[in-house]
């Protein structure tokens, strides 16, 4: 019974951070512009992230090390410094987008322009980090995030043509706007295969004191959690395909998002949307902030744990404080959060190889993972994911330039 509770809790918490402003925005854009045709991108991204998260969890459970720890150790400081700079840039932009998401939810709730909410939202994130423990962030916010199941309920209630939904899960060539189609596909993959997800999961396994005995549970949690998250993303796409696409609505601003749930749930749909966006963005913002602090502390060998009081690990506390301030400075400029989101998703896609290539080496290193090394199948999958990551890295910026609007 205890194990079932642990697995259920693990699945719910691993969804926290999966569904965030990037996945909501890109799925809504895909549904509005291409109906059900881009569901395959969420399925493909979901499959990739399941394998990466499972491997990150297995690595940490067996070796007692996080993936960034081992990257510094096995690939040296110069590679780590490059990875750190790339991830810091991407994470700051994604965090700025998530803070923007929280602010947009507050704007929708109060009518006060989102920029005014930047400082209170950043303070709230900092306060949860300052006073909260890893358990509160991991479990508390993720539990609240279950409100995003309203997208799934809405997708069922609206009765989509299921044959078209299933057909959309198979890759197909675009019928119109080819460049934009591929740009949205790349953005979805960038939003789904987020480095902070597998790095955070790896650190979480250490925070939760996972051991070799957790290898089986990790597999179930990683698969269940990431599948669960993908289903919610698909639900957002289905709603957009059913509501926005027939009306010819383009997703150009976040204030259009309530229309995803209002036609299904009426008045309460508006508030469900506000809660879903606000809570999922808050959860993702906390995870990204924490991940930046973990990455910094692990790379430089400092003491780290979110469950310790700030004075006990002053550099760790300083790292997340500075991260929040820098990201809030981007949000407060007033750049449209949707623009930051779409740009940061494409940038994430462009930088994926840097964080994924090390998996192939680390997951086969006997000194870390011993008998739990990757088999031929897992290695083949990682090679395929690396291939996808390189294609995304090459095409994402040109697509951003030519198909981003």
């Amino acid at each position: 019974m205890k194990k079932i509770v642990e697995i259920a809790l693990g699945i719910v918490t691993s969804v926290g951070g999966f569904l965030e402003i990037g996945s909501i925005a890109t799925a809504a854009q895909a549904g509005a512009d291409f109906s059900f045709q881009l569901i395959w991108a969420i399925v493909l991204g979901g499959l990739c992230i399941i394998f990466l998260v499972e491997q990150a969890g297995r690595f940490s459970a067996v070796s007692g090390r996080t993936i960034p720890d081992a990257i510094r150790e096995r690939f040296g400081f110069n590679y780590f410094a490059f990875l750190y700079l790339v991830l810091a840039l991407v994470s700051l932009l994604v965090l700025a987008a998530e803070i923007g998401g929280v602010c947009i939810a507050l704007e929708l709730a109060t009518g006060i322009t989102f920029q005014w909410w930047t400082v209170p939202a950043a303070l709230l994130i900092w306060l949860v980090m300052w006073k909260g423990t890893f358990g509160i962030i991991e479990k508390g916010v993720s539990m609240l995030g279950l409100v995003t199941l309203s997208f799934v309920a809405g997708a069922f209630i609206i009765h989509p043509p299921w044959s078209q939904v299933v057909r959309g899960a198979l890759p197909s060539l675009p019928h119109h706007d080819s460049v934009h189609y591929w740009f949205v596909a790349v953005s979805i993959l960038g939003a789904t295969i987020s480095p902070y997800l597998y790095f955070f999961y790896s650190s979480g396994a250490i925070e939760d004191e996972w051991k070799e005995t957790h290898v089986g549970i990790n597999r179930i949690i990683a698969t269940g959690g990431m599948t669960f998250g993908s289903v919610i993303s698909i639900a957002v796409l289905v709603l957009a395909a059913m509501i926005f696409a027939p009306a010819g609505v383009k997703v150009e601003h976040y204030t259009q998002l309530p229309q995803l749930l209002v036609p299904v749930f009426g008045y309460w749909g508006y508030w469900l949307l506000v809660a879903s966006v606000g809570i999922s963005c808050l959860g993702a913002a906390l995870e990204i902030t924490l991940q930046m602090a973990y990455l910094t502390a692990q790379g430089f060998g400092w003491n780290w744990s979110e469950s310790q009081p700030p004075h006990a690990e002053a550099r760790f506390a300083a790292a997340y404080t500075v991260t929040i301030i820098l990201a809030a400075l981007v949000t407060i400029t007033g750049i449209d959060p949707l623009t930051i989101t779409i740009f940061s998703m494409a940038l994430t896609a462009a930088t994926l190889p840097v964080s994924i290539v090390p998996f192939l080496f680390l997951m086969n290193d006997y000194s870390y993972v011993r008998v739990y090394r990757n088999g031929w199948f897992s290695n083949a999958v990682v090679i395929v994911i690396i291939g996808i990551a390189f294609i995304l890295a090459v095409v994402s910026i040109p697509l951003q330039i030519f198909g981003g609007s």
Partner: protein
């Protein structure tokens, strides 16, 4: 032992198993007519910057010295180092070494002063 594989960039724990940093550099002593000898492991941002580029290391050292901040890396004699599997143990007390200077300064002057720390 392969120094780069088994020691460089590994986490260093002190005698009470507190994380005190990583092995940022390894210092070899070369005397004429004798084989090279491992003398110290180094911890410090200047050593790290030197690994990226010697110009960067020199520029950082100048910047720190202009602000009267010690730029020399902290050296631990090799005799106090024990290399394990993916870990390095130092027979020192981290809080009494320059390795935690910044941590203690931040704790005392900044983080520790914020309510709730």
């Amino acid at each position: 032992m392969n120094l780069v594989r088994d020691c460089l960039d590994k986490q260093i724990d002190d005698r009470s198993k507190r994380r005190m940093g990583r092995v940022d550099g390894i210092v070899l002593e070369i005397e004429p007519g004798r084989p090279p000898r491992v003398a110290y492991v180094e911890l410090g941002v200047k050593t790290l910057m030197n690994r990226l580029s010697s110009r960067l290391g020199t520029a950082l050292a100048k910047l720190l010295e202009s602000r009267h901040i010690e730029s020399a890396p902290y050296r631990i004699p090799w005799g106090k180092i024990k290399v394990g599997l993916n870990t390095v143990h130092a027979d020192v007390e981290a809080e009494k070494t320059p390795a935690l200077e910044w941590e203690l300064w931040l704790r005392k002057k900044v983080i520790g002063r914020i309510p709730g720390a």
